[in-house]
């Protein structure tokens, strides 16, 4: 039982981390909570469903197109919604409310076109899980954890070694100084949205293979994503990954004692505790 909950916690953690790392990347450069990130996840998985299950496109092509669309959608939201607000020096809380409205708008669009009924992407036939000291894990779940870990290493390398990553960290540190030395902040914002949304897109597809598709799945995921980001320290990508795994574990061990429906409530109690007592999270930077 313990081992099974541990494995479930790690799988949930990997899924949250895919959402939270992109979310945290965007927060670290742009300094606001991009709520519509959840809609990017939902769109990516529904596009993959549409292409693969409805139109019969090759699976891998469908995935690539869906991830590209997610990246495009993130870029577009930044361009037409957030950029005009930023130009007017709007406070982060208004950006959050606007992002929330964008999330509801996009989810309602999905609800309108695809309907409320639950859908599945039947790419992987239901495989029998591997027994592992009495716990069960499916090959897909191992793929989820592996893909998540590979993506985090790539993201880490991107941030540490490339010019773009350095520019992102510079803008994150101090936007004005970065602009003075010739780093175009708006361009860096766009890139954060593109990269963050592409990761979310990959995450969305993995989630879609593991669970059912629902139009409102993004809301739940973005909330888990930011809870994880706050646990780990908002604005710190490694922190978001750490926070995601902690959250996944806490939820799954929590339902040892509580009915499983309270899973979401557990996340919120943790969010409350961190907001109140440790608003900078475990690895986070202090906010001004």
């Amino acid at each position: 039982m313990f081992l099974q909950l541990l494995i479930n916690g790690l799988i949930a953690g990997a899924i949250y981390a895919l959402v939270a790392s992109g979310f945290s990347l965007i927060y670290s450069t742009c300094k606001f909570i991009h709520f519509a990130h959840g809609a990017v996840v939902t769109f990516s998985v529904y596009i993959a469903y549409l292409l693969f299950s409805n139109l019969g496109v090759n699976f891998w092509l469908a995935i690539i197109l869906a991830v590209a669309f997610a990246a495009f959608l993130g870029w577009l939201i930044n361009l037409i919604v957030y950029k005009p607000l930023r130009n007017r020096k709007t406070s982060p809380v208004i950006l959050l409310v606007t992002g929330f409205a964008v999330l509801i708008l996009l989810e309602s669009l999905i609800l309108m076109f695809f309907g409320a009924d639950v859908k599945t992407i039947d790419f992987i036939e239901i495989a029998e899980g591997w027994q592992f000291f009495g716990a069960v894990i499916t090959p897909l779940q191992i793929v989820i954890i592996a893909v998540a870990l590979v993506l985090f290493v790539l993201l880490f390398l991107l941030m540490k070694t490339t010019r773009l990553g350095k520019a992102m960290r510079a803008v994150s540190d101090n936007k004005e100084v970065a602009e003075v030395v010739g780093i175009p902040a708006e361009k860096i914002y766009s890139w954060s949205f593109i990269i963050g949304s592409a990761i979310a897109g990959i995450g969305g597809i993995l989630i879609g293979l593991e669970q059912n598709l629902e139009p409102t799945m993004g809301t739940n995921l973005v909330i888990k994503g930011f809870t994880a980001a706050i646990i780990g320290g908002i604005g710190s990508v490694p922190g978001a990954v750490l926070g995601s795994f902690l959250l996944g574990l806490a939820e799954n061990f929590g339902i040892w004692y509580l009915p499983s429906g309270y899973k979401d409530a557990i996340a919120f109690v943790i969010l409350f505790i961190f907001l109140l007592f440790m608003p900078h999270g475990i690895l986070g930077l202090k906010r001004k």
């Binding site: 809380v93 708008l105 309602s108 609800l111 309907g115 909330i223 409530a265």
Partner: protein, 290 residues
């Protein structure tokens, strides 16, 4: 038939108006970006419904509904009073999800996703409000009382102090105002009226389930407040009427209800985004959203 439809719309406007005006008190007049308003609405609705189903008279139901919502408003203010801006927004939004999860999972009390059917129509001191026409009068009367009370609050020294906290919390503290007390009273009063709205809703539709109280439901209320502009009660009334009526033509064009539901949300969300981008003070707003 058409008049029954108009009465239905007017009742909806009344309920949303109470919700929006109470959110104005917290958001517009006190500067608390409270995204947990639907939770108080839910607490009011469930309290009232459960008491009514247990046989309590309507006046007791509605009284308990708003007092319990108020108590939760005060409770929420205690941990969140130090949070500002986006952190406050997130924490209050979290409260909505906790209340939703409890409504969905505490099946012994709320029957979970099955919901509570058969909530009796109100009967107040011998006056029967079971017909929609009579219920409309009740709604309008309560909306009017809510308007007058909130108007009085905003004009009172307490209301002025709230606005001072909104504009400059530090200055208000320097002048010796206990800003925690002010903010928690404001949130509690705001929750009180949301509880009334919840109670009215429960007794009007006679069936409630957790799906009526998701975070999605916040969008119309938030749209009303932001289109009206912060701290404008008159604007709130106009915005509530316009926004509730706006998606109605969709029904007559003949779209199925599976399209009308999401289309309503799309209209509200789109309006909200456009207003925030192009007219951030709303149409009657006196203060800038921050």
């Amino acid at each position: 038939m058409l008049s029954a439809y108009i009465i239905h719309l007017l009742i909806l406007i009344g309920i949303y108006l109470i919700l929006a005006m109470s959110l104005q008190l917290a958001m517009g007049f006190s500067g608390l970006l409270n995204l947990g308003h639907i939770a108080f609405y839910a607490i009011g609705a469930y309290t009232s419904a459960l008491l009514a189903l247990a046989g309590c008279p309507f006046w007791l139901c509605i009284l308990c509904a708003c007092l319990l919502a108020m108590a939760f408003g005060h409770l929420l203010a205690i941990p969140t009073h130090k949070l500002k801006g986006d952190y406050l927004a997130l924490a209050t939004m979290g409260f909505t999800f906790v209340v939703y999860a409890v409504a969905l999972n505490w099946t012994d009390l709320t029957r979970g996703p099955l919901g509570l059917p058969g909530i009796p129509k109100p009967n107040l001191f011998g006056l029967d409000f079971s017909s929609n026409f009579n219920f409309l009068f009740l709604t309008i009367a309560i909306a009017l009382i809510t308007y007058l009370i909130i108007k009085q609050i905003t004009r009172s020294p307490f209301g002025k102090a709230l606005q001072a906290v909104r504009d400059d919390e530090l200055a208000a503290q320097v002048l010796g105002k206990n800003t925690f007390k002010l903010k928690s009273y404001s949130l509690a009063t705001s929750a009180f009226f949301a509880g009334i709205a919840g109670s009215l809703y429960a007794h009007y539709v006679t069936f409630i389930d957790p799906s009526s109280f998701t975070i999605m439901q916040l969008i119309p209320v938030l749209a009303i407040v932001i289109i009206a502009g912060l701290a404008s009660l008159r604007g709130t009334i106009i915005a509530a009427i316009i926004l509730i009526l706006l998606p109605e033509p969709l029904r007559f064009i003949g779209f199925p209800s599976s399209i009308v539901g999401p289309a309503r949300q799309i209209i509200y969300a789109l309006i909200l985004i456009l207003i925030l981008i192009f007219k951030p003070t709303g149409f009657f707003g006196k203060v800038k959203l921050e």
